[in-house]
Symmetry: none
Subunit: 447 residues, 2 copies
Amino acid sequence: MSKETIELEKDHTHDKDFIASKQLIESMNIVDIAAALELMNKVTAIETFRMMPKNKAADVFAYLSREMQQHIVESITNPEIKSIINDLFVDDAVDFIEEMPASVVKRVLANAAKSQRELINQLLKYPRDSVGSIMTVEFVDLKASHTVAQAFDYIRKTGVDKETIYTCYVIDSSRKLLGIVSARALLLAEQTQKVSEIMKTSVISANTMDDKETLAPKFSKYDLLAMPVVDNEQRLVGIVTVDDAFDVQEQEATEDFEIMAAMSPSEEPYLKTSIRKLAKNRVFWLLLLMLSATFSGAVISSFEDALTALPVLVAFIPMLMNTGGCAGSQSAVLIIRGMALSEIKISDILAVWWKEIRIAVLCGAALVVVNFLRILIMNNDIIVALTVSLSLYVTVIMAKTVGSLLPMAAKQFRMDPAIMAAPVITTAVDAISLIIYFNLAKIIMGF
Amino acid sequence: MSKETIELEKDHTHDKDFIASKQLIESMNIVDIAAALELMNKVTAIETFRMMPKNKAADVFAYLSREMQQHIVESITNPEIKSIINDLFVDDAVDFIEEMPASVVKRVLANAAKSQRELINQLLKYPRDSVGSIMTVEFVDLKASHTVAQAFDYIRKTGVDKETIYTCYVIDSSRKLLGIVSARALLLAEQTQKVSEIMKTSVISANTMDDKETLAPKFSKYDLLAMPVVDNEQRLVGIVTVDDAFDVQEQEATEDFEIMAAMSPSEEPYLKTSIRKLAKNRVFWLLLLMLSATFSGAVISSFEDALTALPVLVAFIPMLMNTGGCAGSQSAVLIIRGMALSEIKISDILAVWWKEIRIAVLCGAALVVVNFLRILIMNNDIIVALTVSLSLYVTVIMAKTVGSLLPMAAKQFRMDPAIMAAPVITTAVDAISLIIYFNLAKIIMGF
């Protein structure tokens, strides 16, 4: 919490400090104002919110939590709602409306200007994870026949309502995208040049129905500030700005971390998520993994005779399982991340597998040597050392195979590869490594 | 001081001896030339320095005192600086730049070739992972007294060499940052307005020494296109643009994925990394985890009598270990990620732990019920079912405690919290859960 935030909160508890608060608000960043409002009691928050100038209020509103947004909308008058919803960028309005209960949505849409309402309804139609669902429709569109001077006039006239003016889009009469012009190119060009002369026609664009996960790799590769979004007829319908792509990237990474640790992904920050929700997100996978460990248990039970005859074998089970699980998840994680960043494709599957096999042979050799010596020193039993080490080698190679192939198979079957991370790999590797271990023990030790 | 040095100093005081001096310099050792320059008056030193062949000049420069270096840089032309800075060894350039005032640093970096500058930025006084190591120095700096029209003239004139012109930085005569002006604000303002009237003074900035990991959360929170970077005296020394922050975010996430899967992080894409390198990145952690599994093995060995007496207990070891490991890594991953996104702070440690305990109680209850019924049905042994289920409950609570506290402890001790992910948690949880299991079995079953 910044010093200003504390001050704002404190000040506002006294009405005589109203003017001071107002000045403070004027000097503060909208994101920080939003954070300060979240910390106030609800009555004070509403009072403070109403005190803000109209256009600032809408900006701040976009950064509030869903709860606070709902509370504000339920507390203010229809004209106030109207002013906020019409001042919001359409993509922010859509984000907000998507989370609200039906009664609030109805009241908000009823107060939106017709054009704004139409845009909102249009964006609400795109699927949850599509590019369409996060694009904005407030962009600057230029005509190819415009001169640079005309373009600037147009930007000055309409720019204030646009989400970005730094990339302008040149379209023809049927709204097909012809090219893009950066504000930089406009600024550095002669006033009399035509837009068509300075526009770039090789444009990186997205389709409304593309998965929003595909945006970040493109933004990153081409260092874009915004990307045009076209429909199936190549008509320009919106743009995605870099800040939204940035947020998507952060969310997607968080989601992958969560899925890879066997949790249902959640968009709320940890400290704001309820115990019930967190428990619910975790318990399903825990149950599944607990039950699938029954396989490993069954493998052990079926070799009970061997274990009774040679109980020393039991002591190496955790080492085999952990090393195998870790070897497998190393491969899985690199491949899952590589696919998420579009660095690895399904068609690379054989190259990846062959690479992992050779890594397994190298890593396995080091592990086996150390392991063999350790057992020899600590247990002084060359047969046990041999059995365990050989099992370990085969386990590492098997684990890297499983770890590399499962995520790619998941992708092939249109599942999220992140599901095939540590927990699943561990369960699979556990059972297989135990089978390898006991069978090798049987062969080598002959019981 | 050598005889030659004295001679050089003496010789150069006479212009007619210019050619002799040049020959002398050619024959002298660079360290001696540097020592000689230090002894000359400043005007003569500059003349002598300029007389030297280009590559020799750079070599000599590296041996000069900081004062003399500054004096030289302030006295020569940009092309001369360029030739020196590009010829300098990077570590020498860094040593030099580290000591210079911001104005000199800016001029030197602006004249370095791109590749040289990247290396310098990376090595400069700024540690490898600091904001300073990734910032750029090509930004537009405006004066508060400029009119909008003057600002545009300035941008048109200098903008072509700047990394971004969309955010301009307003500085005072000592290069202290006064505010920022977006190109958007300039475009929408009247030509006669002053920059000081339209600049924003509440600026989100970074310090050169901040960890570059801290950039992405700020870019994301405040939706920035660029962020100014200041030194300890609040002087503007560079900026970070959103594309670089984007790349850092992607790299940091990838690094966290790798560390959390027990690998040394690598910046190269998977398919372009050699087998040897990949194996090297993985083998250390595999070895460490393999050896630490010895603890779990030792626990099992110490209860060998119990296991021989009741071999059915062995079959539940994988279930207990996997469920515990998974429960612990769920907590660890959420907390590691929360800290990476600055959502969770060290001071939240008690709140986090208390949250995790309650989640463990909830999740554990569900697991225990299912587990108890499964064992009852499959093994038809209520004592075993009770022992295993109770062990499972205690293990889950213990695992969530370990999983939440270890990453925060790592952060407290300035280690990367990501190290405390699945593999480490698994190893710790394994050994503790086995101790819980066997001791509970001993108490309940009484052997």
